[in-house]
Subunit: 342 residues, 2 copies
């Protein structure tokens, strides 16, 4: 003997019964499609409000073949991670924009090779997918095979015919080089993140190309490669290279992301190096931490918010099968000068 059904168990049928109309009519009132008399509409709407009826999106999805759910896959090499200082920001923007377009979003993190998360999303029949960071070709192929709309954000490689939202990393690398050389630096140490990742590769390229262009030589041993793009790696690398670095006569350093830069800085500070007086430092990304560090880090800001926003807006167009979707313009980075270079 139920007193009264609660919102979630209530169906359109019950509303129809109470309103004295058919299910079809209730459905029409809710969707706003098709006509209905004012009288009926008011009655139905009032009942819905009163009983706290919540339409069952699962049932709706089944018939409309549209879930209004999208999946975000964040692939990281080592630890699956949503709280990442860079990717987390993109995720935030995605979440906000998705909500404004009435999409709900499944967030999944996964190791590089696994297809499990992608599989889950397929079974859940997401309307579309956003792939972030490292991507394996097999994951791309797999998803493509199912015909679900998707796009990539800051992926590790370009894939033909796939919409890819990225920063103008080469230009950013150039900006960093310009900033340091304009300040008079001629001997610059560089720590470059994994060159298998598009962004680290292009950032380094833009940086070295500019130096070459203005005729600043790069001393042998001035470029060091990090195998991961982490704080710990930056710290370790600077530590193990310390003797060589000290003897190199460097006056500045550039790292292809903030985390590496910060790690290296921490080691230098522990060796009582004064930053920027003795060594000026420039990073890349502009994670929150860059502004908080002491000294704060000069960096090349990537517009992560715009990345996330564009990702959702474009995915929505793909889902709605809009014609003439143009490839997004690469985002323009921005130099942010802070204490580490002034």
């Amino acid at each position: 003997m139920q007193e009264r059904e609660c919102g979630m168990d209530l169906t359109i049928k019950e509303i129809a019964l109470r309103a004295g109309v058919s299910k079809s009519t209730v459905s029409r009132v809710i969707s706003g499609k098709g006509y209905s008399s004012l009288e009926v509409r008011d009655k139905v709407l009032q009942l819905i409000e009163e009983l706290q009826y919540k339409p069952n999106a699962v049932a709706r999805a089944m018939v409309s073949q549209r879930t209004y759910n999208i999946g975000v896959l964040i692939y990281r090499r080592h630890h699956p991670i949503a709280s990442h200082p860079f990717y987390g920001k993109i995720l935030d923007a995605i979440l906000m924009t998705a909500a404004s377009l009435n999409y709900s979003v499944f967030v999944t993190t996964d190791h590089e090779m696994s297809l499990r998360s992608a599989d889950f999303m397929m079974e859940k029949r997401v309307d579309g997918l956003i792939l972030i960071s490292r991507l394996q070709q097999n994951v791309i192929d797999y998803i493509t095979n199912f015909g679900v709309p998707y796009l990539m954000v800051n992926g590790s490689t370009e894939v033909d015919g796939v919409i890819h939202i990225v920063n103008q990393d080469e230009e950013g690398g150039r900006m960093a080089a310009e900033h340091l050389t304009d300040a008079g630096h001629r001997r610059i140490f560089v720590i470059a993140g994994p060159q298998t990742h598009r962004s680290h590769n292009l950032r380094l390229k833009g940086f070295t190309n500019y130096l070459a262009q203005i005729g600043v030589p790069i001393p042998p041993g001035a470029i060091r490669f990090a195998s991961t793009s982490t704080f710990g790696e930056g710290y370790e690398l600077m530590s193990s290279d310390w003797e060589q670095f000290s003897a190199g006569g460097y006056t500045a350093m550039f790292a292809t992301n903030d985390m590496i830069a910060l790690g290296a800085m921490k080691f230098m500070l522990e060796q009582s190096v004064r930053i920027p007086e003795q060594i000026a430092v420039v990073g890349f990304d502009d994670i929150d931490f860059a502004a908080m560090f002491s000294p704060s880090l000069t960096t090349i800001k990537v517009d992560t918010e715009e990345m996330g926003t564009q990702a959702i807006n474009l995915l929505d167009k793909l889902i709605r099968q809009e014609k003439n979707i143009e490839n997004p313009k690469q985002l323009m980075p921005k130099l942010i000068v802070r204490q580490s270079t002034k």
Copy 2:
């Protein structure tokens, strides 16, 4: 004239047709419930593999009245945020554990008062909900009203009868006080985050209680209250209080979270204060940034991973309506000694 249907359009009906059996049989093979001859099973399984059939979770959810989806609502006062250094970690753990139990998770961020995200989750018929951080009573009431299982993680207030996963914040405050006083500090400056939030309130309480207990007086003006728990707030507060602080003869400082501590530290470092030599600092949370800062920050570590793991495991029990679910034990924090106090 379709060449061949792709995985997502394929239905159980098509598989049944090709295998020469009924839909029921295919369903049974997939679910593993009910008997089926080896012969039939092999044939069906092979077809599924070959055609890359993916069961439609939407249809399954409709009949089983179970979506295997859960929702995570992260409420923040100012900016909705998934990438938060503390809450993001909890989210990561939730994502990992959820995957291991075959749940997919909707992540939503929302402003404090809005019910919109909760509404969405209701319509999507999530099996359960996890509420993180600030919570308004009206949101709790609203969700309770719908009878969906839910629990809270590090909520701003206790709510009767609601499972709440929290840290032993009072004990953590005590640990911080003990650590500082054991090192001989007697004049300690304190910046306390919003006292409307349970954790900041208890951390302060544990801290001051310990001082009182061992007979260390708290000078007037030694406790300052921050209106938000951010880096910027810590920095600003220290800045505006600088004169008073400098004249106070303090040798140490405690903040009720790392962000505030770090902000205050940055200002002090800019004033050439040597940490820890002149001022020792202790924070709370152990966000990643605490270990990276220079000097690294001594803090009271909250086991965010365990929080996320417990949250999912408990929610799963609630969903499965297990009997005798016991309230989780409050998590024990841990003192992490770093450069800022040694």
